[in-house]
């Protein structure tokens, strides 16, 4: 009896394992196929198309590095890159500060805190097009409530916001910070829940005030969350497209033209998919480099 069991046991285990693996694969397969068809293949395709003169219809011709050489002399590319960097430089720190500040404030045991948290999170679940349209109305130079308020406060010539080359990018940054801060606030709130209350208690007993507790307990405790939020913000900032497209379409002039818009314009509007792919590749490399640098900095600070 014992002999029979020892002989059949490995075969049964193998069968069970194979069956489990099959079941596992069958669950993963739909997602994997979708990922391969809609992400992996197009991304790989971009790498190839970037070295061709493909116009989406005729047979592509291999042009080597010509698209990249063109990029070097393309004023639109440098303007878009500069605008994207300025957008990121404003959007990342301001969203970090606003969402962290909100999370710390709304982590208190206050009456109606749930309603406040929901209110701040609400813009994130609202359609981005609706957000852009509403902010366009609020920031309208002549009849927008923001400028009416500023005039009432004594600023006789308030900015043209989305119609001014100086103010259009700040206006976009302010809108995106307003929209995103609620989402990142939720992430920070989750991070704050993981910091043991005993640490605050001990710091208080040692005579630490609110700022010292924030600096020496909250900030170190939130380091993983802050890192994650920064990486996510970096990626989303460099890829920004929809908000700019709806609010300013890259204008006035080229004052809010960003890289994603340039990619869209070159490919879809002008039919230069080769060049458009080359710019995509440049954007990919920039985002990858910045993200890797952030991982490197994070690793060093952990040592």
């Amino acid at each position: 009896m014992t002999t029979v069991t020892t002989r059949t046991a490995p075969a049964a285990t193998r069968r069970r394992r194979r069956r489990n693996a099959l079941i596992g694969w069958s669950f993963v397969l739909p997602n994997l196929l979708g990922f391969a068809a809609l992400t992996l293949v197009p991304v790989a395709g971009t790498f190839v198309v970037a070295f061709t003169d493909w116009d989406s219809y005729s047979t592509p011709k291999w042009v080597g590095l010509a698209n990249f050489r063109r990029m070097r002399h393309d004023d639109n590319f440098w303007t878009a890159l500069q605008n994207t960097c300025w957008y990121a430089a404003g959007h990342i720190p301001l969203t970090l500060a606003a969402s962290l500040g909100l999370a710390v404030l709304l982590n208190q045991k206050l009456r109606g805190v749930g309603i406040l948290r929901t209110a701040f999170f609400f813009p994130y679940v609202t359609s981005l097009v609706a957000v852009a349209v509403v902010w366009n109305m609020l920031l309208s130079p002549d009849i927008g409530p923001v400028n009416q308020l500023l005039r009432h406060l004594g600023w006789s010539h308030p900015p043209g916001w989305t119609t001014s080359t100086d103010w259009s990018l700040p206006a976009l940054i302010a809108t995106s910070v307003w929209r995103d801060m609620g989402y990142y606030m939720v992430l920070f709130l989750a991070g704050l829940q993981t910091i043991p209350a005993e640490l605050y208690e001990a710091a208080r007993m040692d005579g630490a005030g609110p700022w010292a507790r924030f600096r020496h307990v909250t900030m170190p405790g939130l380091r993983p969350t802050t890192f994650f939020v920064t990486v996510m913000l970096t990626i989303s900032s460099f890829k920004v497209f929809d908000l700019v497209q709806v609010m300013t379409e890259g204008g006035p002039g080229r004052s809010t033209l960003v890289l994603s818009q340039l990619i869209f314009r070159e490919g879809i509007t002008h039919g230069r998919f080769g060049y458009s792919s080359a710019v995509s590749l440049a954007l990919f490399v920039i985002v990858l480099a910045v993200t890797l640098a952030q991982f490197q900095i994070q690793r060093r600070s952990e040592r």
């Binding site: 099959l22 004023d75 309208s140 009849i143 989305t162 119609t163 006035p252 002039g253 879809i268 039919g271």
Partner: protein
């Protein structure tokens, strides 16, 4: 049994997804269940653009064995969407050519079926306005069915006794200021100049002979002077407000906020349809577009709209039949009945047009419909879309006061010469 279902469900889902992805580019058999040939036609805003339904219904009544099915696309996204569709090997049979620049792009890439034979068979080519704009080295790949050009729409009540039938631009400027009344929410503007660059640039190009692709844009200066003067006097909604609010010319006019609006003839059909539905109480008329010089000639600009057949059309013959019918006399009669200016014109089409219920038939309106010359809004070239981008960007800066007219024109000259190789 339940276990089997649990295992098979994800696999079935994957297969469905994969199948859907594989069949993504224009499925369908090409015939209906009752054996009619299907002709799919790419068009925009089907519900609010009366011409498409009128043409489809008219064609199907004549050819009952063909079922024309609209592929409705949002007007603003139309050129991008069609470019993407064609790139993906879409087999939609008929493609509406919204402008000549896109037509040239699709035709030179070999995405459209040649229609040179259809053009050669036309009994009188001169009866088709705008046909020459589709001539690409002796070859035609589309047939125009509409020929719009710009006129001056005006609100009869607000304009009152003022004569708008022979306006120069400086006369228009003075009249716009004179017709501006009230303030704040109750303000009525003398005019509304829409945010499109053509409102200034194409007017100047048509009436001064300036070349929009040339790279020297000094000839735009006077027209910018007029547009900015009207704006500075508060006689039009400021460009910055119109642009940030995404104001529509229709709303400015039909709510009685603007007395005069320079716009394309296509608007007449929309105004008539709105009036028929009781949405628009404005009593309106048309006049010739104001002119730079008062020499009695009316020079305006415009664009034909055409139908082309996709090179990968599933039913090319039936598609060709639709395009020929829509651009010919019978299609023209259908279009004139909804208040649009067809490409094909003869006396019966003109009388049908002015016989539409609600269409103004006064002398100024009739005169507006017979311009001396209609120049193409944007010349056809492989550089057109790049130059259009630059001119649009600089137009925004000039009209929002971010740049002076001289600085804007200088930048247009510089960018067109250096960026468009």
């Amino acid at each position: 049994m339940r276990m089997t279902t649990t295992r098979l469900l994800p696999v079935a889902l994957a297969a469905t997804l994969f199948g859907a992805a594989a069949c993504g580019s224009g499925g369908g058999s090409g015939t209906t269940s009752d054996g009619r040939t299907v002709v799919k036609i790419a068009l925009w805003n089907y519900q609010t653009t009366p011409e498409f339904k009128a043409l489809i219904d008219g064609f199907e009544a004549k050819y009952p064995k063909i079922d024309v099915q609209p592929v409705d696309i949002l007007a603003d996204d139309y050129p991008d969407k069609v470019t993407t569709m064609l790139a993906g090997g879409d087999r939609t049979d008929v493609l509406t050519m919204k402008n000549v620049t896109d037509y040239a792009r699709y035709a030179t890439r070999g995405q459209l079926l040649p229609l040179t034979g259809s053009v050669a068979g036309l009994p009188d080519k001169s009866a088709y306005a705008g046909l020459a704009d589709y001539d690409l080295g002796g070859q035609y790949y589309a047939l125009p069915y509409r020929q719009d050009f710009w006129v001056l729409f005006y609100n009869k009540k607000l304009v009152g006794d003022a004569d708008v039938s022979h306006l120069t631009w400086s006369g228009f400027d003075s009249l716009a200021k004179q017709l501006t009344t009230g303030s704040g929410a109750s303000k009525t503007y003398g005019t509304y100049l829409h945010t499109w660059r053509s409102v200034v640039q194409a007017v100047a190009s048509a009436q001064t002979g300036g070349d929009l692709l040339g790279g020297d844009y000094g000839w735009m200066k006077d027209q910018y002077g007029i547009a900015l003067d009207v704006q500075k006097a508060g006689a039009t909604l400021p460009f910055a407000t119109a642009s940030s609010q995404k104001t529509t010319y229709d709303s400015q006019f039909t709510t009685g906020k603007a007395a005069m609006v320079p716009m394309g003839t296509w608007w007449a059909a929309a105004l008539l349809a709105e009036k028929a539905e009781g949405k628009n109480p404005v009593d309106w008329g048309m006049a010739p577009l104001p002119q730079t010089t008062a020499d009695g000639k009316t020079v305006t600009f415009g664009s034909p709209t055409a139908f082309a057949v996709n090179k990968k059309a599933r039913n090319a013959d039936a598609a060709k039949q639709f395009v020929e019918w829509a651009s010919g006399p019978q299609g023209a009669a259908v279009l004139a009945k909804v208040g649009l200016v067809p490409s094909y014109h003869d006396s019966s089409v003109t009388s049908t047009f002015f016989g539409v219920r609600g269409m103004p038939t006064d002398a100024a309106s009739r005169q507006a419909m017979q311009p001396s010359k209609v120049q193409l809004e944007m010349p056809v070239s492989d550089k057109s879309s790049d130059i259009d981008q630059i001119l649009t960007e600089e137009h925004e800066l000039v009209m929002t006061g971010e740049k002076s007219v001289d600085a804007g024109i200088k930048e247009m000259d510089h960018r067109v010469k250096t960026e468009v190789q």
